[in-house]
C-alpha cells in the first residue's frame, strides 16, 4: 500500500467528493489511496480506462509513460484525446492524456514520465507503489517485474493487454497482507473502524497473508501441471507472446499471415509442455493474430474496471486480490481468474 494511513482527517472537500465510495471501502482506505503513487507504461484504450478509474478514486499521483506521438489511429478507442489536431498534433500520447485526466480530479497529481519502459532503473521505480504495464514485450515485462521484486520497497506489478474483444491481466503483489470479510459471526471491535462494513454487513474480518509469484515463475509452470479447466486464453497468449518474442515483433505487430508459423510454434510448445494441441484452438489463435493492436472499447472498459478495482484493493489492503491472472472474452462472456501455479488445496 502507499505509506500507510496518517492521523490527519480527510478534508471537507474530500469527504464531500468521495462520500459514495467511502461508503464502499471506508475512510482508512481513502486515506491510503491519497498517498499512493502509480506508474502506467503504455497509453492505450484499456490503460486510459484504468487511469480514469484511479484518478476518480483519488490516488496520490499518476505518472504516464508513453512517448509515441498521437496519430489518428489513437483517436479510435481513446476518449481522452479531443478531435482537434491543434491540441494533439505533435504531442505524445502521455502528454495529451495527462491534460485530460487532470480534469477528472484536481486533487490528483497527474504527470508525464518521459522514457522507455525497457530502460527504466531501480531508483526510478522506487518512486511508485504500483506499476502497470500494457502492450509491452515479454522481455520488458520480465525486466520490470524483476526490478519490482528486487527493491526493498514493496512495489505491486500488473500487466494488462486487450486483444480486440478479449484480454488478460496479470497480478504480482509479492507478499501481501490484507483484510477480508467473512460472512457470519459476531461483529468485532475492528468493524467500528470500517463504518461501511459495519452497516452493510455484520461480518467477521480476518487478516490474510498470501504470496504471489513473478511472471517468470508463472509462465514457466509446465502446462501438464495445470488443471484441465484452465482458460484456453492463457495458453493462446503464451504462444503469441513467445512468437512475438522470437520474431522480434512489437506487441500486436501480427496478422493472419503469421498463422502457419504460429501453429507450428503451438505444436512445438505443446510437445515440450505435454499438452494436447486441441487445448489451444486454432480459431482462438486466429482471433489473437487478427486482433493486432485493436481494442474493442467495451472490453477496454471491462478490463480497465477490473484492473482499477484490483489496484484500489491492493492499495487499501482490503478485499481478496485476483491471484494471479484474469481473463475476459466477449465471445463467451466469462470473466475468469486463474491461479498459476495452482495453490495446493489445504
Amino acid at each position: 500500500g502507499g505509506g500507510g494511513a496518517e492521523e490527519e482527517e480527510l478534508t471537507a472537500q474530500e469527504t464531500a467528493l468521495y462520500d459514495r465510495q467511502i461508503r464502499v471501502w471506508g475512510v482508512d482506505a481513502q486515506k491510503r489511496l491519497s498517498k499512493a503513487h502509480v506508474l502506467v507504461c503504455g497509453v492505450n484504450g484499456t490503460t486510459i480506462e484504468f487511469c480514469k478509474n484511479i484518478v476518480l478514486a483519488g490516488v496520490g499521483s499518476l505518472s504516464l509513460m508513453d512517448d509515441h506521438i498521437v496519430t489518428e489511429d489513437d483517436l479510435n478507442s481513446n476518449f481522452l484525446i479531443p478531435h482537434d489536431e491543434s491540441v494533439y498534433g505533435g504531442k505524445s500520447r502521455a502528454e495529451v492524456c495527462c491534460e485530460s485526466l487532470k480534469d477528472f480530479n484536481p486533487m490528483v497529481r497527474v504527470a508525464v514520465a518521459k522514457g522507455d519502459p525497457s530502460l527504466i532503473d531501480g531508483t526510478f521505480i522506487d518512486r511508485f507503489d504500483i506499476i502497470v504495464l500494457s502492450r509491452a514485450s515479454l522481455k520488458t515485462k520480465l525486466f520490470i517485474n524483476d526490478n519490482c521484486r528486487k527493491r526493498s520497497k514493496h512495489i505491486a506489478f500488473y500487466s494488462v493487454d486487450c486483444k480486440d474483444s478479449c484480454g488478460e491481466i496479470f497480478v504480482d503483489l509479492q507478499n501481501h497482507s490484507y483484510l477480508q470479510k467473512k460472512p457470519g459471526g459476531e461483529p468485532e471491535q475492528q468493524e467500528l473502524k470500517y463504518p461501511s462494513l459495519q452497516y452493510y454487513n455484520l461480518n467477521r474480518i480476518d487478516c490474510i497473508y498470501i504470496w504471489f509469484v513473478s511472471i517468470q515463475e508463472a509462465i514457466s509452470v509446465p502446462w501438464k501441471d495445470l488443471s484441465k479447466k484452465t482458460t484456453k486464453l492463457y495458453y493462446a497468449m503464451r504462444v503469441l507472446e513467445s512468437y512475438e518474442s522470437s520474431e522480434g515483433r512489437d506487441p500486436g505487430e501480427t496478422s493472419l499471415s503469421d498463422l502457419p508459423a504460429v501453429l507450428a510454434l503451438r505444436k512445438d510448445m505443446c510437445d515440450r509442455m505435454s499438452l494436447d494441441e486441441s487445448r489451444i484452438p486454432t480459431s482462438l489463435l486466429e482471433r489473437l493474430l487478427a486482433a493486432g493492436k485493436k481494442e474493442h472499447p467495451p472490453v477496454c472498459a471491462i478490463l480497465g474496471g477490473i484492473l482499477g478495482q484490483e489496484v484500489i484493493k491492493s492499495i487499501s489492503c482490503k478485499g481478496d486480490p485476483i491471484k494471479n491472472f484474469f481473463y475476459y472474452d466477449a465471445a463467451d462472456g466469462k470473466g475468469a481468474m486463474e491461479d498459476i501455479p495452482p495453490t495446493p488445496e489445504d
Partner: protein
C-alpha cells in the same frame, strides 16, 4: 456488426453513474445516433464517478452536460438529450418505436417497470442494468424470446412493522425511521399528517392536547428540553408499564436531560453562537464537532439534538410545518442522527456516526466508478448482439465481488418468458 452499429438508433435512459460510462463506450464503439433521458441535475457527490461532469456543472442537467462532454471527443455523432422524466407523456409508445434498442441506467424500480412496459408495447429490445458498490448485473429482455424485466418478482423495498418503530426497536435503522418519520415529521413537518408519537403528557390535567405544541412565549431552551424529556424519558416509562412487551426483551432505559446534560438544565443561556447568516446553520459547527465519522457520546448527541432543534426555530422558522427530510439538509441529518442515537442508547443498540446515519436515513447507495465502467462495457456487448439479432448468444451477466467457480463475471443464458407474467404474457392485453 460495424454496419449494424452505425445504423442503430439507441435510447439511453439515465445519464448518471452507469449513463456516463455507457455514453462514452457507445460513442467509442461507433454508435452515432443516441437519445439520452435524465431528469436529474448534477451534485458534488456524483463527481467521484460521473466523470463527464465537473464541479462547475453542479446544478445543471445531467443529460445536457453528458451530451456536450461526449461531443468533445466525437463531434460528428448525433446525440439528443432530454432533461425530463422518462415517465412523461411525450415518451410514449411511438417515441420508443423509433429505437433499435433501449439501454437502462436507472436507479429505481418504478422507472424500470415503466420502461419495461413501454419496450414491450413498442416491441423494442431492452438491456437492463444495475450496480451497488462492487456488485452489478446486465440483463437482456426481448419480447417473446426472453423474460421481461417483470417476469420474476423483484424484491419490494424493506419496510418495518409500526410497533417495531414505535415501541420495540432492535436495530439502528429502526431508530432512524423513528427519528425521521415520527419525531422530525412531528416537529417540523406537515401538522396535518398522521403521526404515531404519543402526544399525551404526564400531567393529565394539562389543557394541552398535544404536548409537542410550543407554549405561548415558551423559552426555546425550555421547549427543547421538554420535548427531549417527553420522547426519551416519559414515553419510555409509559412503554415500560406494559409488562407483556418486555417479557422476552431487553427493557429500555428512560433518558432525561437532567442526567445526560446536567449543566444544560442549570444555565438556560444560548450555546456558543458562531452563527454566520450566510452559512447553512449547523449544530455540529456551533458545537465545534468537525468529524462526521466520529461516533458521539450520549452527551454529545444530546447537545446536537438540542442545538439542531433550536437552530431550526431560530434560523429556519418559516420552513417549520413544511419540512420533509432531505439527506442533503445538514441540519436535518444532524437532528435525525442525534435523535436516533439517543433512542438507540435507551434500547441498548450501538450508536452510529453522522456519516453512517446519513447513509441509512438517506437510503444512500454506495457507488464507485469501476463497477459502472464494467457494467457499461457489458451493456454495449449485449446491445451489439441485439442489433444483430444474435439471440442464441444473449447473456445475463453478473459482476460478483467474490468469485464463484473462479468467475468474477458470470454469464447466464436468459430464461424464456414466464407464461404467467402479468406484464408480458400474451394472455393479457397491453395497451
Amino acid at each position: 456488426s460495424e454496419e449494424a452499429v452505425k445504423a442503430a438508433k439507441v435510447l439511453m435512459v439515465g445519464a448518471g453513474g452507469i449513463g456516463c460510462e455507457l455514453l462514452k463506450t457507445l460513442a467509442l464503439s461507433g454508435f452515432s445516433d443516441i437519445h439520452v433521458i435524465d431528469l436529474d441535475t448534477i451534485e458534488v457527490s456524483n463527481l467521484n464517478r460521473q466523470f463527464l461532469f465537473r464541479k462547475s456543472h453542479v446544478g445543471q442537467s445531467k443529460a445536457h452536460v453528458a451530451r456536450d462532454a461526449i461531443l468533445k471527443f466525437r463531434p460528428n455523432i448525433n446525440i439528443e438529450s432530454h432533461h425530463a422524466n422518462v415517465k412523461d407523456a411525450q415518451f410514449n409508445v411511438d417515441f420508443f418505436k423509433q429505437f433499435n434498442v433501449v439501454l437502462n441506467g436507472l436507479d429505481n424500480l418504478d422507472a424500470r417497470r415503466h420502461v419495461n412496459r413501454l419496450c414491450l408495447a413498442a416491441e423494442v429490445p431492452l438491456v437492463e442494468s444495475g450496480t451497488t458498490g462492487f456488485l452489478g448485473q446486465v440483463t437482456v429482455h426481448v419480447k417473446g424470446k426472453t423474460e421481461c424485466y417483470e417476469c420474476q418478482p423483484k424484491p419490494i423495498p424493506k419496510s418495518y412493522p409500526v410497533c417495531t418503530i414505535t415501541s420495540t426497536p432492535s436495530k439502528f435503522v429502526h431508530c432512524i425511521v423513528w427519528a425521521k418519520e415520527l419525531l422530525f415529521a412531528k416537529l417540523f413537518g406537515d401538522k396535518n399528517q398522521d403521526n404515531d408519537l404519543n402526544v399525551h403528557s404526564k400531567d393529565g390535567s394539562s389543557s394541552k392536547l398535544d404536548v409537542f405544541e410550543r407554549d405561548v412565549d415558551e423559552d426555546l431552551d425550555q421547549y427543547a428540553q421538554r420535548i427531549y424529556d417527553h420522547v426519551f424519558g416519559y414515553n419510555i416509562e409509559v412503554a415500560l408499564e406494559n409488562e407483556e412487551t418486555w417479557k422476552n426483551r431487553r427493557r429500555p432505559n428512560p433518558v432525561y436531560i437532567r442526567d445526560t446534560l446536567p449543566e444544560a438544565v442549570k444555565q438556560n443561556g444560548s450555546s456558543w453562537d458562531c452563527s454566520n447568516d450566510h452559512e447553512e446553520p449547523s449544530a455540529m459547527a456551533s458545537l465545534g464537532l468537525t468529524n462526521p465519522q466520529e461516533i458521539w457520546t450520549l452527551a454529545e448527541n444530546s447537545r446536537v439534538l438540542l442545538e439542531a432543534f433550536k437552530l431550526f426555530f431560530e434560523k429556519r422558522e418559516k420552513e417549520i410545518g413544511n419540512l420533509v427530510f432531505d439527506k442533503d439538509d445538514q441540519l436535518a441529518v444532524e437532528f435525525v442522527t442525534a435523535a436516533a442515537n439517543i433512542r438507540a442508547h435507551s434500547f441498548g443498540i450501538p450508536l452510529h456516526s453522522l456519516f453512517e446515519a446519513k447513509g441509512v436515513a438517506g437510503n444512500i447507495v454506495h457507488a464507485v466508478a469501476t463497477t459502472n465502467a464494467i457494467i457499461a462495457g457489458l451493456i454495449v456487448i449485449e446491445a451489439i448482439k441485439v442489433l444483430q439479432d444474435d439471440y442464441k448468444n444473449y447473456r445475463m451477466t453478473y459482476c460478483l465481488e467474490h468469485p464463484t467457480k473462479k468467475l468474477l463475471l458470470m454469464p447466464v443464458e436468459p430464461f424464456e418468458p414466464n407464461p404467467s407474467c402479468y406484464v408480458c404474457s400474451e394472455v393479457f392485453c397491453t395497451v
